[in-house]
C-alpha cells in the first residue's frame, strides 16, 4: 500500500510541478527490506527573493507525504544547487516539516537550478529539478512603501511650515521652562563678575544634539557680548571647536563688538571622555563660573560634571536627548531641557523659519502618532474583547501599515 502511495505521489509531483523537467525524477530505490522508503518533496519552486541586492533566491516545496508531525519518516530535507549548468552539489539542509529556504550569497551573473531531497534514516528521495533562474535586482523596494509615505507626509508638513514662516506668518511655539532661565543665568554671571561655562557635550558635529547646543550658543553668546560677560567653552572635538568659534565670533560681530572676541574663549581639551571630564572639573573649581550650560550629547560624565558644577554654586541649565543621562541632570541641575525640548529650544531661540517650520512639522508627526495609537488601541481592545470583526480589520490594517520590513 505504501509503495502505491509513493508511486502516486511521484506521479502527482511530476504533473503538478509546471516548472520541473519530466526526465529528471531521481528518487533512489534500494532493494532492501530494512530501508525506510519515503516519497520526495513535490512542487519545488524557485523564485527571486524580492527587494534584496540580487544575491538571494527563495525556494519552496510541498513536503513529502511521509513528513508527519508525529512518527514521520522524514528526518530532514537536503538542498542541492547547480551553478551555471554544472553538477548538483549539496548546499544546505533543513529539518523535517520545513517547506522553504532562502538561498543566500548568490551572484547576479550566474544561473542556478535546485533540487530538494527528503531524507529518512537510510533513504534519500530527490525531487525534480527546478527551472533555471537568475537573481534579479529591483529598482524600488516596496517593502518600505509605508516608511516612504510617512516620511513624505512629515517632510511635506515641515516644508509647508517653513514656507509659512518664511512668508512672515508667526508660528506659535509654547514657552519652554529652561529657556526662561537663560536670561536670568547670564545676568547673574554679569552681576557676579564670574564667567559662563558652556559645555556642548562630547559628541562631534554629526550629532544633532551638538548642533542644537551650538544654535543655543549663538543666542547665549549674543547676550554675553551685549553684557560684556566672560564665556569659556572647553570642547572635546576639533570640529566643534571650529564651529563654536565661528558662532561666538558672529555673535560678537552682530553685537558690534568684534574686538572683544578672542579665539581662546573656545579651547580644545581632548577627545578622551574622562580626560575631558577631568579638565572641565578642574576649570569649574578653579574659575568658579556663575552659570554653566550643559547642552548636547552626554554619557557617563553627565553626573560628574553636573555635581561638580553644583558644588561650586553655579546656576546650571542642562539639556540632552540621552534618556539615560537625563535623571542626573534633573537631580543636579537647576533647569533641564528634556529630550526634544533641547531641539525645540534651539528653534525657539534662533527664530529661524527653517528650524521653527521643522519643529511644527514634527508636531504634525506627533499628532499623527497620537491619533493612530488612540484609534489602534480602541480597535484592538474592542476587536479582542468583544470579537467584533470590523475593529479587528482596522487593527490589522494599522499594524500592517506600521510594520516595516527591511
Amino acid at each position: 500500500m505504501k509503495f502505491i502511495s509513493i508511486y502516486f505521489v511521484l506521479l502527482v509531483s511530476l504533473s503538478v510541478s509546471a516548472q520541473t523537467n519530466d526526465n529528471d525524477s531521481t528518487s533512489l530505490l534500494v532493494n532492501d527490506s530494512l530501508t525506510i522508503k519515503i516519497a520526495p518533496p513535490t512542487s519545488v519552486i524557485v523564485e527571486d527573493y524580492k527587494y534584496d541586492d540580487a544575491d538571494n533566491l527563495q525556494l519552496h516545496w510541498v513536503p513529502s507525504i511521509d513528513d508527519m508531525p508525529q512518527d514521520g519518516k522524514v528526518v530532514r530535507y537536503r538542498i542541492y544547487q547547480s551553478t551555471n549548468n554544472g553538477s548538483f552539489v549539496l548546499v544546505d539542509s533543513v529539518n523535517f516539516s520545513v517547506n522553504m529556504k532562502k538561498i543566500e550569497g548568490l551572484a547576479i551573473d550566474s544561473t542556478y537550478q535546485f533540487m530538494v531531497s527528503a531524507v529518512s534514516k537510510n533513504y534519500e528521495a530527490k525531487s525534480n529539478k527546478t527551472i533555471t533562474i537568475q537573481t534579479e535586482r529591483e529598482w524600488i523596494n516596496f517593502n518600505l512603501a509605508s516608511l516612504f509615505l510617512i516620511a513624505l507626509l512629515i517632510t511635506s508638513a515641515v516644508i509647508y511650515f517653513i514656507e509659512t514662516a518664511r512668508r512672515g506668518k508667526e508660528l506659535f511655539v509654547r514657552k519652554i521652562a529652561g529657556l526662561e532661565a537663560v536670561d536670568e543665568a547670564i545676568g547673574r554671571a554679569t552681576e557676579m563678575g564670574r564667567p559662563i561655562l558652556f559645555i556642548p557635550g562630547i559628541h562631534d558635529m554629526d550629532d544633532v544634539q551638538t548642533l542644537a547646543a551650538i544654535t543655543i550658543l549663538g543666542k547665549v553668546a549674543r547676550q554675553v557680548a551685549d553684557y560684556d560677560t566672560k564665556i569659556r567653552m572647553p570642547v572635546a572635538r576639533s570640529l566643534v571647536m571650529t564651529a563654536a568659534r565661528e558662532t561666538i565670533k558672529t555673535a560678537y560681530q552682530t553685537a558690534g563688538r568684534p574686538d572683544a572676541y578672542n579665539d581662546d574663549m573656545v579651547n580644545y581639551i581632548t577627545d578622551e571622555q574622562f580626560g575631558y571630564v577631568a579638565a572641565v572639573d578642574g576649570i569649574m573649581v578653579r574659575e568658579k563660573p556663575a552659570t554653566i550650560f550643559l547642552l548636547g550629547a552626554f554619557f557617563a560624565e553627565s553626573l560628574i560634571l553636573a555635581e561638580t558644577g553644583n558644588s561650586v554654586g553655579a546656576i546650571q541649565i542642562a539639556g540632552t536627548a540621552r534618556p539615560a543621562q537625563l535623571p542626573f541632570f534633573i537631580a543636579a541641575c537647576d533647569f533641564t531641557l528634556i529630550g526634544e525640548e533641547l531641539f525645540a529650544a534651539s528653534a525657539y531661540l534662533s527664530g529661524e523659519p527653517k528650524m521653527l517650520g521643522s519643529l511644527k512639522g514634527q508636531d504634525v508627526g506627533k499628532a499623527i502618532a497620537m491619533g493612530v495609537i488612540i484609534v489602534g488601541v480602541i480597535s484592538i481592545t474592542l476587536g479582542e474583547a468583544y470579537g467584533i470583526e470590523f475593529f479587528s480589520n482596522i487593527t490589522s490594517s494599522i499594524q500592517s501599515f506600521f510594520t516595516v520590513n527591511k
Binding site: R174, G275, K360, V372, A385
Partner: protein, 268 residues
C-alpha cells in the same frame, strides 16, 4: 612652596619610592621593577584623581594634565595611524604604503577614497584666514549626510516601531465583568496586572507625546495630560537613576579592588 606642602610632597615621594621598591622586590615577572613602577604609578594616579573629592590640589592637577595630554596625543596618533595609514593609504598608493610600511591592498583601489582626503584638506583650511570659508563645505557634508541617514533610522525605530508596539488591548482575556472579578489575581501574568500594565503603557505614551507637543499651550485638559506625561517621565528617570548608580558603584569597586588587590595585595 609652603613648608607644609613640601612635607606632604616629600612624604608622598617617599611612599612612592617605598612602594616601587617593595613591589619590585616581590614581583615575579621578567622585569619586576618595571612592573612595580607601573602598578605604583597607576595606584598613585588613582589616589591623585580621588583626592579631588577633598578639594582641588596640585596632585589632582598633575594627574589631570597628564591624562589630558596623554589622551589627546593618543587620540591623534590613533586617528592618523589607524584611519589614514591603516585604512586609507593601503587602498590608494603602493608607493606611500611602502613608505609607511603597510601592506598595499591590490584591487581595492577606489577613486571615492580620494574624497575624504579632499574633505580633510578642506577642513585644515580653517588654519588659513583667507581660505577658512572652505572648511564649511566638509562640515556641511558631515551634518547633511548624518541628518539624512538618521532621519530614516529614527523614523523607523522611534516612530513606526513605537506606534506598532503601543497598539495593545486594554482588556485582556475579557469575558465580562463577572468573569473579570472572579478571576482577579495579582500574579505578574494575571489578567488584572496585564490590563494595568497595558493601560500604563498607553496612557504613558500618549501623555508623554502631549508633553513634547510644542504647538499648543499646556492649559486645560491638554495641560493636565501633559502633567501626567511629565510624572511618568520623572518616575522613569528615578528608576533609571537608581539603575545607573548601581553600575557606577561597580566601577568604584573595580578601582578599590585594584588598589587593595593589585597594589597593596591585602585582599586575594
Amino acid at each position: 612652596m609652603k613648608k607644609t606642602s613640601m612635607v606632604v610632597f616629600a612624604t608622598i615621594a617617599s611612599l612612592f619610592l617605598l612602594s616601587w621598591i617593595v613591589k619590585g622586590m616581590f614581583s615575579e615577572g621578567s622585569s619586576p621593577y618595571l612592573d612595580g613602577f607601573l602598578v605604583t604609578l597607576a595606584a598613585f594616579l588613582t589616589l591623585a584623581i580621588m583626592s579631588f573629592l577633598y578639594k582641588d590640589n596640585p596632585y589632582y592637577k598633575f594627574a589631570e594634565h597628564l591624562f589630558v595630554g596623554v589622551s589627546a596625543a593618543y587620540a591623534m596618533c590613533l586617528g592618523f595611524w589607524s584611519t589614514i595609514v591603516g585604512n586609507l593609504i593601503p587602498r590608494l598608493s603602493s608607493t606611500v604604503s611602502d613608505f609607511f610600511q603597510v601592506n598595499y591592498i591590490e584591487g581595492d583601489y577606489n577613486i571615492f577614497f580620494v574624497i575624504p582626503i579632499i574633505f580633510g584638506i578642506l577642513l585644515l583650511m580653517r588654519l588659513s584666514p583667507k581660505a577658512g570659508w572652505l572648511s564649511r563645505w566638509p562640515l556641511a557634508f558631515i551634518v547633511g549626510t548624518t541628518a539624512g541617514l538618521n532621519f530614516v533610522r529614527y523614523l523607523r525605530s522611534d516612530f513606526i516601531n513605537q506606534i506598532n508596539s503601543t497598539i495593545i488591548p486594554l482588556l485582556i482575556d475579557w469575558n465580562g465583568f463577572g468573569d473579570f472579578f472572579s478571576n482577579m489575581n495579582f500574579s505578574a501574568t494575571g489578567q488584572l496586572v496585564m490590563m494595568f500594565s497595558n493601560l500604563v503603557i498607553f496612557v504613558g505614551v500618549v501623555c508623554g507625546i502631549i508633553y513634547f507637543y510644542f504647538s499648543k499651550e499646556h492649559t486645560g485638559w491638554f495641560g493636565r495630560a501633559s502633567k501626567v506625561g511629565i510624572w511618568i517621565l520623572m518616575i522613569t528617570f528615578g528608576a533609571s537613576f537608581g539603575y545607573t548608580v548601581m553600575g557606577r558603584i561597580s566601577l568604584l569597586v573595580g578601582r578599590i579592588t585594584f588598589l587593595f588587590k593589585d597594589w597593596l595585595e591585602i585582599i586575594s
